[in-house]
Symmetry: C2
């Protein structure tokens, strides 16, 4: 059932024991929203727990509360709570976090794909990040922003907007960030932490960038990682950006060969509908960011993806 921001705030105000969860493969918005809301509710004397069914990347240790996030375990007794708040995803992407809680469900999200099918749903796809909605909820509840709350929410907003560079960035985003900075969020500390890479990943990135190839007369380019290269790099976050920035490139591809007949493909575009290309391989996504998995070996997958992009471009 879709409810208003005011009603969502009232649900939170009325609950005493609250469990918060967010999606697997957690990003800055999942973690920042969860911890920001946790601190705000704890400040009102409520009992709050945060669950994420995944490892939390070490870069987020810059955030207060990093160490209190729990990973749900199978077969334990369910926690009875007043409210189970699911942030930044519909309830189907929280792993087994839902299995450890018995409570009314409040789902808060900014993804346009969230159909609002939870018990209570507040979805605002006009917001750049769920953290922006958490900011609005805290204001609606009449609470102050502490330094802890501000740092967490700022991180959610900054990461989901690519540090205020993506097209989802709005004047509201900028003004919210301004206010959070006044309450203690420090952009350079957070951005430095978010950008950190291990020495091995930077060296792997250098090796991977050597494989960049242009096609479609330079309107597309790909970074093609064979099995050996893929196996040697734990984290390819940001690699596709090195392709995306090349002059004249509309479509950027990152192909990783994970197993003998299994290749993962990510695509970013500045115009062409890459969701359509991904769908042709059983994948999906958005017009400008999509992905798919090909059950082919490296050479075949590379050829198939390049061909599909060439056809879509009418080249």
């Amino acid at each position: 059932m879709n409810i208003s921001l005011k009603e969502a705030a009232r649900n939170l105000l009325e609950a005493e024991k609250i469990v918060i969860a967010s999606h697997v493969n957690p990003d800055g918005d999942a973690i920042g929203s969860s911890l920001g809301l946790m601190y705000a509710l704890q400040g009102m004397g409520k009992e709050v727990m945060v669950f994420i069914d995944d490892d939390i990347p070490a870069i987020f240790s810059v955030l207060p509360g990093y160490e209190v996030i729990r990973r749900p375990e199978k077969g334990v007794e369910k926690i009875r709570a007043d409210l189970f708040v699911i942030l930044d995803t519909s309830p189907d992407r929280i792993g087994i976090s839902g299995d450890v809680v018995e409570a009314h469900v409040l789902n808060i999200d900014h993804h346009v794909t969230n159909k609002g099918e939870a018990e209570f749903s507040y979805v605002d796809s006009g917001r750049a990040a769920t953290a922006e909605i958490v900011y609005e909820l805290i204001r609606e509840m009449g609470r102050e922003f502490t330094g802890e709350i501000a740092s967490c929410i700022y991180t959610g907003i900054a990461t989901d907007t690519g540090f205020f560079r993506y097209s989802n960035t709005t004047p509201f985003t900028m003004r919210t960030a301004a206010e959070l900075m006044e309450h203690g969020a420090r952009p350079h500390i957070i951005s430095e932490a978010m950008e950190q890479k291990s020495y091995a990943v930077v060296k792997g990135m250098a090796a991977a960038m050597q494989t960049i190839e242009r096609f479609c007369n330079g309107r597309a380019a790909g970074l093609f990682m064979d099995r050996e290269l893929t196996a040697g790099i734990e984290n390819t976050e940001g690699f596709i950006d090195m392709v995306r920035v090349i002059e004249g490139v509309d479509v950027a591809v990152l192909l990783k060969c994970k197993e003998e007949k299994l290749c993962r493909v990510s695509m970013r575009s500045k115009g062409l509908d890459v969701a359509k290309i991904a769908a042709g391989f059983g994948g999906g996504g958005h017009v400008r960011a999509a992905g798919c998995t090909l059950e082919m070996d490296f050479a075949d997958a590379k050829r198939a993806v390049m061909q599909a992009i060439e056809e879509a471009m009418g080249a």
Copy 2:
């Protein structure tokens, strides 16, 4: 003579024919401030010219007015104007732009090193970019922000703050950007343009990144480009960031061997005073960003820089 923002605005309002100039090796703030102020003054019916004594990098062609920036020529008749506005630098870094104009001088800058020695100076080192001061001047003059003005000023602010990530970013920065977006500045268009690199530079970056080496127990790391590597890459903008992001690295170094006995060194730090290290080689800069030139061949220069950093770190 130092004057107030109000007086600077009055100087601009009273002038009919105005020449604007900014520094050589122009960046987004030099170009964005100059063009933003030009459009605002032209909107008031004034005659305005912009001079920069250098090439204007092609990435700035995304800005309106890119093509009207002139390069001063030697030996031409001086332009008589009412006001010569020097932006984002003290008057000593504008090449020969000053030689082509005869007018009262108004210097507007945000650099703390600007001592305010021009005929009229307005320097506010609390502002993250000169573009922020141009924004204030336009408001002070009671003018509206057109889409052209907003895009130019936004670019100055965004580039000088590393897209709102550096420690100079303030709540004022964020709120100014919000207002400029409402007047037509588009963050994703501008950021995509600013990040563009040629295919050759991206491939060169990959090759350069292969040379990254850690030292001082991982507290320092350097990207060491010998003569051959240096000669093959036209632009190393952003290369040092690939060193700076490595986990545990306080001091990042970029060394480029330009000629047989000439190496340029840039250093970035998160704590250690690299201006002091640079000064030891006759260079200079800020605590966290400094540079120097070594008249040594590649191997000697590399050894000397690594040793100086090791000594400064007490390793």
